[in-house]
Structure formats: structure tokens, C-alpha cells
Amino acid sequence: MLRSGFVTPALDTRWFDPARWNILIGVILFTSFLVINLLRARGRKELYVRPIAGLKALDEAIGRATEMGRSVLYVPGLSDMSEVGTFAAITILYRLAQRVAEMGCDIDVPCYDPVVMTVLDGAVREAYSKVGKPDAFRPGCVHYVSAQQMAYVAAVNGFMLRERPAANIYMGSFYAESLLLAETGAMTGAIQIAGTDKVTQLPFFVCACDYTLLGEELYAASAYLGREPVQLATIIAQDWAKALAAAAVVAALALAALGHTALMQWLGVA
């Protein structure tokens, strides 16, 4: 039966929405996991994280591009800052650009979102000067192409066929255009590494690219590339949260089977 309507007071004057307790506790718990692991990471030199094939391949890809004297193409995704996948694309490029600067090969970063372009331009300049080669930075390598999905893809596809970069790297939030980019790149024979948080596009990157970072691996990538213990600590915090989430589901199911559905309700109210 469809509810006829929902009654909320004309002007809400509450200072806290009790229905959102679970979200608040979730945020507090997660922040505490993060802080605890940051403190633990201070002293430690090396933190174990399992190898991710796609990230090892990044070094090979840049090496190959340098040997062949051809450029690396970095596609930071087709979304703006409201998608956190775009933040991941920024943090990954910052560390990747340092390797590119060290190896001395060229990098091209066509951008979809103008705000992301300004951020990436600054991040790549920072990367070049961090490895002591500020003058090797080629102004214009990070450039705005179009904030229209298919105009962007048309331009990047044209670039791939004409400039023939040796490695195509797709990181960030992608939508239906993912396969059009990846399959065009496959036609040119470049080594292709992709990573996206958009679940719908994972099958296409897995099929068309050589290596693919699945969902959460995109967010772990920048920490992996940086190897700084502080960054790796945030990944361990994510693992703790995953373990807690899995335990909460198991507990809620077990309790519900025994008749107590309190935990299940608590998870659901939002």
C-alpha cells in the first residue's frame, strides 16, 4: 500500500536527526580506526600489504614507454569532484608523475572536468619539482579537452590513434565510454592499465585492458605507489572496517535467526 504522504513539521528545528545515529557512529568508528592506525604507523618502517598486479605493471608500463621513446597517456576519469574516484585519480597521478619525471618520458593528461584540470596541473608540477626536475615539466601536458562525455572520448580516441602512446592508464570514475576508450587503445597495441570505482565498468576494463584495479583497489593505489607508512595505515583502517562490517552482517543474521532483530533494524535506519 503506498503511504499517502509523509508528515514532517513545516520548519524543522531539530539539531540532530536521530534516524542518522548509525551513520554518525559509522563515521566516528572509521575515523578512530584511521587515527589509531596512523599512530601505529608513525614508528614502523614497513607495513605489509598484499601485492596488486596492476600497480606493479605501472612501473613496467612507464619503463616501456621510456624505452620506446613514446608518451604515457593518463585518463583521470570522466567525472568531477563530487565523485571520490576523481580524488583517487588525482592522488595516483601525483605519485605516477614522479616516476615519469624520474624516467624522463613524456606524459599527456587530457581532462574532462575543468576543476580537475587545474588541480592536476598543480599536482604534476609538484611531482616534477619533488624529484628535482621542475624545468622538465612540459606546460600544457595537463589540458582541458571537453566536459561533454563523448566529445572527450572522440578527442582522446583520435589522440591514441595519432600519437600512439606506449601506455594508456585509465584511473578514476568512468561510465559507458570505458570500453570505447579501452578497445581503441587495444587497437593501437599499447599496454593498458585501468582502475575504477564504478562497478558497472569493471567488466569492460577487465576484458579490454591488460591489468585492472577493482573498485577499492583504486583507492588503495595511491598509498601503494607512495609506500609511505602513513598512507598504508589508512588501508589497514579500511581492512579493520571491512572486518567489522562483515562481522556486523554475520551477527545481525545470527541474532535475527534467534529472534532478536535489534541489530538489523539499527543497520537499516537511515
Binding site: 504522504g5 563523448m150 559507458a176 558497472t200 591488460d210 537511515a270
Partner: protein
């Protein structure tokens, strides 16, 4: 075994020619194959069908020309269904490029069902901001849309009197090909608890099954097949059903290609050729 190796590495362009033939031929000589209605599309149809006459339905057509193929016939079918049930359609879009399409869908449906502007439907047009618009509609519709697409203030439109947020709307229908749907779920349904039906491209549909099973959305129309099913439910033959014949043919071509590819791989393996070194992700 050279023909096997040639088969393994068919030139892409031959595959492209096969796909082109698979689409063009059935459009020129329709096969009219049957359409089976799936539960999720039926749920969307029933959620709208259950609304009493005169209820306000907010329809947000958040798609651009590049995915109008699936969502245009779907929009026309849903809007025609609303007009038949004498529901009052408030239509809008969150995409600048969706303005022309949304208006065309409404005019096509209105012509077919004899609906009248400002009495049976209001076209609000485009407003940028995604979440800002959705939160705005929850707080104060006139703050976001002071006037409709044609510049008429909402207060001068008979059907819009008294309508200023989700509370006065019996249903929100979001037809989208992008993350707009996630935000409609998060804000319109999550924050303001508006009943929500979603229509989306086939590729996105699988990701919204969790939201359907958690009752965050009441129905889900997925892709051209969903649109064809909806056309069948309201008894019309639109572009969706004509396209389904071409779909069947192209799907069979792709399946045949995959089988041929694996057959060639099997033969070449038996002949001792390794069939190319396996590098990279799981499918290599």
C-alpha cells in the same frame, strides 16, 4: 593450421561489418518476435498504475542524446501511461543536453494521449547542480524552479498550485543513464522518503537490484528491453519493440563469434601452439 591462426586474429573490421548487417537487415525486414515481461518492469508499471487520478508525478529525464536510444522510448511509454491514468506530470532534467529530449518526449506523449500543457503536464526544463536541485525540491521547489521552461511563474500554472516539495508528489520517476540515479535514491528517497521508480540503461540496471530488494526503489525499468516490456504493458508498438528483433540477431552474431574464437583456440592448442602468452588480468 594457418587458417586457425588467421581465425584467432580476425581483422576487427570483419566483426564490425557483421554487427552492422545484424542491425540493418532486421530493421528493413522486421521479424516481430514475442516480448516477455519481467517482474521488475511489472513492479514499476504497477507502482504508477496504482496512483489515483490527479496525483502529481515528478519525472526527471536525466539523460543526454548519446543514450536516448534506450531512455527516449522508455520516457514516452511512462509518460503516456501517466497521461492515460490522468496523473499530472511535472517533468524536469538535470542535464543541459537533456532539455531538448525531455521536451520532445513529453510533446510526443501528449500528442498521442491528448494531454494539455499546464493542465496535465508542466515542463520545468534543465537546472544545474544535481544534489543541489534534489535537496532544493525537498526544501522549496520554487527556490530551484521559480519559473517553468517557458518562463511562466509556477504560481500561474493551475496544476502547480500548492506543490512546493516532494510532500505534494505521489511519485518520483527518475529516467537516467548516469549517477544521477544514485543521488535521487540518496536524497529524494533517502533524505525525503519520496516513493521512487527508476528507469535506466541496461548496463546500470544490474547495480540497482540491491536498491530494489531493499525497497529503496519500487520498480526498475532496464534498457531497451525494459522499454519494450513497458510498451507491451501499455499496448503500444514503439521504437523499443521494433529494435528488439535487431537485438536478437546481433546477440546471436556475438555469441557465434565467441564460440568460433574458442573453437579456434582449442584447435590451435591441440596443434601445440600456445595461443599467445597469458599476461595481465584474469582474461589473458
Amino acid at each position: 593450421m594457418t587458417w586457425v591462426r588467421r581465425l584467432l586474429a580476425i581483422d576487427r573490421r570483419i566483426i564490425f561489418l557483421l554487427v552492422a548487417a545484424g542491425v540493418i537487415l532486421p530493421l528493413l525486414h522486421p521479424l516481430n518476435l514475442p516480448v516477455t515481461v519481467t517482474p521488475r518492469v511489472k513492479a514499476a508499471y504497477e507502482a504508477i498504475d496504482a496512483l489515483p487520478a490527479g496525483s502529481k508525478v515528478l519525472i526527471s529525464m536525466d539523460f543526454e542524446p548519446d543514450i536516448m536510444a534506450e531512455l527516449m522510448p522508455m520516457s514516452v511509454a511512462v509518460i503516456r501511461h501517466c497521461f492515460r491514468k490522468h496523473l499530472q506530470v511535472i517533468a524536469m532534467t538535470l542535464y543541459p543536453a537533456g532539455t531538448g529530449l525531455g521536451e520532445r518526449a513529453i510533446l510526443q506523449a501528449a500528442k498521442a494521449e491528448g494531454a494539455v500543457k499546464n493542465k496535465d503536464y508542466t515542463w520545468l526544463g534543465y537546472k544545474s547542480g544535481f544534489q543541489v536541485v534534489m535537496i532544493g525540491i525537498g526544501e522549496n521547489l520554487r527556490g530551484i524552479y521559480p519559473v517553468d521552461f517557458y518562463g511562466t511563474p509556477l504560481d500561474n500554472i493551475p496544476m502547480m498550485r500548492g506543490v512546493n516539495s516532494y510532500r505534494q508528489m505521489a511519485m518520483v520517476v527518475n529516467l537516467s543513464g548516469s549517477s544521477a540515479t544514485d543521488y535521487w535514491i540518496q536524497f529524494a528517497q533517502g533524505r525525503y522518503h519520496a516513493p521512487l521508480v527508476v528507469g535506466c540503461t541496461a548496463v546500470m540496471a544490474t547495480d540497482y537490484y540491491p536498491y530494489l530488494s531493499s525497497r529503496q526503489i519500487l520498480g526498475l525499468i532496464g534498457g531497451m528491453k525494459g522499454a519494450a516490456e513497458y510498451e507491451a504493458l501499455i499496448g503500444t508498438i514503439g521504437d523499443a519493440r521494433r529494435g528488439m528483433d535487431a537485438q536478437s540477431l546481433v546477440h546471436l552474431i556475438v555469441v557465434a563469434l565467441v564460440i568460433v574464437g574458442n573453437g579456434a583456440l582449442f584447435l590451435s592448442k591441440r596443434a601445440g601452439d600456445s595461443g599467445g602468452a597469458a599476461t595481465g588480468s584474469m582474461t589473458r
